[in-house]
């Protein structure tokens, strides 16, 4: 039971990362029909920007606002700067290539991914970096029995859930969210409604990477060590999560992320840690064979 609870907490933590990153994939895919391969690397960029902000700002911010103040500064700073990076990415690597077709777009995305991860390596070095101890909040909350949850994990799960709720509200309940979904379904008709498609594109390319950056900073706070190619596995698993939930579908990405995180953690706890990634990718393949529309996606027929 203790093992189960611990793995559940671990699963929810890592699932939060997957869900946050998956939302970025799914929004970009929904609107642009593009797998943004560089998205995982924007997650890494977020982790590094957060790291730097904590290192240079921790003394001052921690002294002024306490350790959580430093964390908030790092999170907000990382989200804004990575969101802007997302806008630049769209402008430079995707916008000029749309007309050339699918394949060049995939290559451009891969190129952008390689560029960002190696740019991070060039800027911060090829070795692991550790988040500054002084900047990471310590302590834990007892739940029941011997089961405790660290404040960092608790914050990860709560902040992620709060942001997911916010995103759910924006996308599913507001008129702007309806405009985003309408643009994903039918760009031309959305334009006839007076929806500026370019604005929608800017929205998804800012918000998606910003959410990824949030996950990146929290990953750094949870596991302390970060490396330049950290985002690759997270990215691939988050993409798996978005397929699990049904790609192009925001609630699906959230559900898929949390579910994948919990399944992975339970597999790790009860079966094997070394094989957990194989488990995740087998899930991916099985879903695509059995139910390619995901848990809550709908089938779109191809018109001849």
């Amino acid at each position: 039971m203790e093992m189960f609870s611990e793995q559940l907490i671990n699963g929810l933590t890592i699932g939060s990362f997957y869900a946050l990153v998956a939302m970025g994939y799914t929004m970009v895919y929904g609107v642009m029909k593009l797998i943004n391969f560089a998205h995982g690397d924007l997650f890494t960029l977020g982790a590094y920007v957060g790291y730097t902000l904590l290192v240079i700002g921790s003394g001052w911010a921690t002294a002024t606002f306490g350790v959580w103040g430093g964390v908030i500064l790092a999170v907000v700073g990382a989200m804004i700067s990575v969101g802007l990076a997302g806008l630049v990415l769209e402008k430079v690597a995707y916008n000029p290539v749309y007309k050339a077709g699918r394949l060049p777009l995939v290559v451009s995305a891969l190129g952008a991914s390689i560029f960002i991860s190696n740019g991070i390596m060039a800027a911060w070095g090829p070795r692991f970096q550790a988040y500054p101890q002084a900047g990471i909040p310590v302590g834990s909350l007892p739940l029941f029995g011997d089961v405790r949850i660290t404040y960092v994990k608790l914050a990860t799960i709560l902040v992620s859930l709060a942001l997911m709720a916010l995103m759910y509200y924006v996308i599913e309940k507001t008129i702007f969210g309806a405009a985003v979904r309408a643009s994903a379904l039918d760009k031309d008709t959305a334009t006839l409604m007076g929806i500026d498609f370019k604005k929608i594109v800017r929205f998804v390319f800012f918000v998606g990477p910003a959410l990824g950056a949030l996950a990146g900073v929290f990953a750094g706070l949870n596991y302390s060590r970060i490396i330049f190619n950290l985002g690759w596995t997270y990215g691939l698993k988050a993409f798996t999560a978005s397929i699990l939930g049904g790609i192009g579908n925001i609630p699906g990405a959230m559900l898929g992320g949390l579910l994948l995180g919990v399944m992975e953690a339970l597999f790790e706890g009860y079966v094997s840690g070394a094989w957990k990634n194989v488990f995740v990718f087998v899930i991916l393949i099985v879903i695509l064979i059995v139910r390619p529309t995901g848990l809550i996606g709908e089938k779109i027929a191809e018109k001849v």
Partner: protein, 634 residues
């Protein structure tokens, strides 16, 4: 038909001068090729070339193999495969494990590695091959990762985990063994040369063309007789087997292999080689491999920045030259690019002979006809096609409602009706694209209701599409060569080794295609890319492609839409001619002048159901028809 082609000979004569330039160009290419091969031969012997650079040359060879292996899947068929390193790993690990555990000679393991890698790929891809673009891409990434992690986890103590397998031996041919850098250099490049020779033969065969048809337009390929699923699997099998070969050679050279050699980054590199060179281009792949291997060697001192530049270069390349550096130029190669042997140098002499000889592939006789006297050419009472109560539903929407359609032999039957009446859907039902929800479709006495599109064309039904579905980046002659595909039988091996029978088949395919291209009046455009033709000519090209399958029944979906008056008139004349030759035609048509001018029977469809069927002169005054078209009087 002669007025279609009257002016063509004049035009051909005018274009003679261009041909000389092409031949000259060809000679230059041949000289360039000799120089390059010569350089490759003497490269390791040059005094200033160190072992280090000979090894670089070896690795270029390995990556050429890997690039070619992926080029088949990605370049020729257009399937996104980002897991090629996994199959490369399977080849290397098969070699490593079988050599170290069972001491099987490396040379023997070369074909075994290919088989294991290809066989594994075949097994895993049969279930996922239908996935589209990005989805397939993600699955192949997953497969590549699974393979790497499995190797890393040392199952049954076979792979030795992260440390990898050490002590792999050298290729030993009994009399001599391959061990020095120079020997390995020649070893890998001889294999590369053999592979390229085989691949060129494949590229210029019905197999290679089938792959390209799929890449250009899957649905058009399927309706023109290409078993899309089968040819995708064949491509995966051959491609991954080649990656297995590369794995074997790599393992025997390095003598040690570990999971680190086969990461996602490796798959990306192979992907980039193909894209950098140009999809489906063998010279492009070689150049791409050379760039990817040599570029980082030259910039060694900037080691930590080279991937940064590399990523940026990929983006810049896609922005400014998405087609690659050396894309395959089909329109330049002309007929010599088709791989058919014993072609006369003069393509116009060729077509004269072809036309003189007549059709190669004859239409199959109707089963009912076999018993009849030969003198009866077309039996007007014989129903070639019959749909019985065909219903096609999409969700709750009934697009076609219990439709009975009879098409009599030798007639032109036209299906008309307002927009959205369900005409095209019915055509899609007949040709197997949307299998009917209910009812049966009988063609020449055979129930074809549940057949796939590629089987239906082989029964003798060919079609065109409302919105033109050509293979845009292939030449006109290649477009038309698609539909005789099913008449031939040569497989991959026969194509690689160019057996006499395969050569004969290829000649027949070309002859049939050339015959129809000429008949429809597009011979002068034979080496143009289909996408560069004006709209009206594209429509004609699609009809020629359908005819080249030697169909019993030709189904045309709005053949005259988008044509100008003159083109429409020519089309009508051509269709009448076809009828005179004994073809049976079924049309959807909106131009009433065409319908009334050439049809024997007109069937009117509205809201998915038949509202009238009659001879043209009576349809015109049928009140139901007037109502369907013009609406009810208030």
């Amino acid at each position: 038909m002669s007025n279609f082609t009257r002016t063509i000979f004049e035009r051909i004569n005018n274009s003679q001068s261009g041909k000389g330039a092409r031949l000259n160009n060809k000679r230059q290419q041949r000289i360039l090729l000799f120089v390059l091969v010569g350089l490759m031969l003497v490269f390791p012997l040059l005094p200033f070339i160190t072992n280090y650079w000979i090894d670089v040359g070896f690795f270029v060879g390995i990556y050429v193999l890997l690039g070619l292996s992926l080029n088949i899947v990605l370049g020729e068929v257009g399937l996104f495969n980002l897991g090629q390193a996994g199959f490369y790993a399977i080849g290397a690990y098969t070699t490593g494990i079988l050599f170290t555990q069972l001491n099987i000679p490396i040379v023997l393991l070369l074909p075994i590695s290919a088989l294991v890698s290809g066989g594994f790929a075949y097994l895993v891809t049969t279930r996922i091959i239908h996935l589209k673009g990005d989805y397939l891409c993600i699955v192949t990434i997953g497969i590549g990762e699974i393979i790497r992690i499995v190797a890393n986890n040392n199952p049954f103590g076979l792979t030795n985990g992260p440390n990898g397998i050490t002590g792999i031996g050298n290729p030993d041919f009994g009399l001599f063994s391959i061990s020095t850098p120079t020997q390995f250099f020649y070893y890998v490049w001889i294999i590369v040369a053999l592979v390229i020779a085989g691949l060129i033969n494949l590229q210029k065969s019905r197999i290679g063309r089938a792959w390209n048809y799929i890449r250009e337009d899957e649905i058009a390929a399927e309706t023109n007789g290409i078993d899309v699923r089968h040819y995708k699997l064949v491509a995966f099998l051959i491609g991954t087997a080649l990656a297995g070969v590369a794995g074997n050679i790599y393992g025997s050279k390095m003598m040690i292999i570990s999971p680190e050699n086969f990461t996602f980054m490796e798959s990306c590199l192979i992907f980039v080689i193909v894209l950098l060179g140009g999809l489906g281009s063998i010279p492009g792949t070689i150049l791409g491999a050379a760039i990817v291997v040599i570029f980082p060697e030259i910039f060694r001192q900037f080691a930590s920045y080279r991937l940064l530049f590399f990523g940026a270069a990929m983006v810049v390349m896609m922005v400014f030259r998405p087609g690659g550096i050396l894309p395959r130029r089909r329109e330049k190669a002309g007929f010599s690019g088709l791989g058919v042997s014993n072609l006369p140098a003069d393509e116009d002499k060729y077509i004269e002979n072809v036309v003189a000889r007549g059709l190669v592939f004859k239409r199959a006789a109707a089963p009912a006809q076999a018993a009849r006297p030969v003198s009866v050419l077309a039996d007007k009472e014989y129903k070639v096609l019959e749909t019985q109560h065909v219903t096609i539903r999409f969700g709750g929407l009934v697009a076609v409602d219990k439709f009975d359609l009879n098409v009599r032999e030798g007639e032109i039957t036209s299906l008309i009706g307002p927009n959205g009446a369900g005409k095209t859907t019915l055509f899609n039902g007949i040709t197997g694209i949307y299998p009917p929800s209910e009812g049966r479709i009988i063609f020449m006495g055979e129930d074809i209701t549940s057949l796939k599109p590629h089987q239906i064309i082989s029964r003798g039904i060919a079609r065109t599409f409302q919105n033109i579905r050509l293979f845009p980046s292939l030449t006109c002659i290649e477009n038309v060569m698609s539909s005789p595909h099913y008449h031939a039988t040569a497989g991959a091996w026969a194509s690689i080794f160019r057996t006499p029978r395969q050569k004969k088949e290829e000649q027949s395919i070309l002859e049939t295609a050339a015959y129809w291209l000429y008949q429809i009046g597009l011979w002068e455009y034979r080496n143009e890319l289909a996408k560069n033709l004006p709209y009206g000519k594209q429509k004609l090209l699609e009809i020629a492609r359908a005819l080249a399958s030697s169909p019993r029944l030709l189904i045309l979906d709005e053949p005259s839409s988008g044509l100008n008056d003159k083109e429409t008139e020519e089309l009508m004349e051509f269709l009448s001619k076809l009828k005179a030759e004994g073809f049976t035609l079924l049309l959807i048509e909106h131009d009433m002048n065409v319908v009334m001018g050439i049809s024997d029977t007109v069937i009117v469809m509205d809201m998915g159901a038949k509202i009238a069927e009659d001879v043209p002169s009576k349809i015109y005054n049928n009140p139901k028809v007037i109502e369907a078209y013009l609406g009810k009087d208030e």
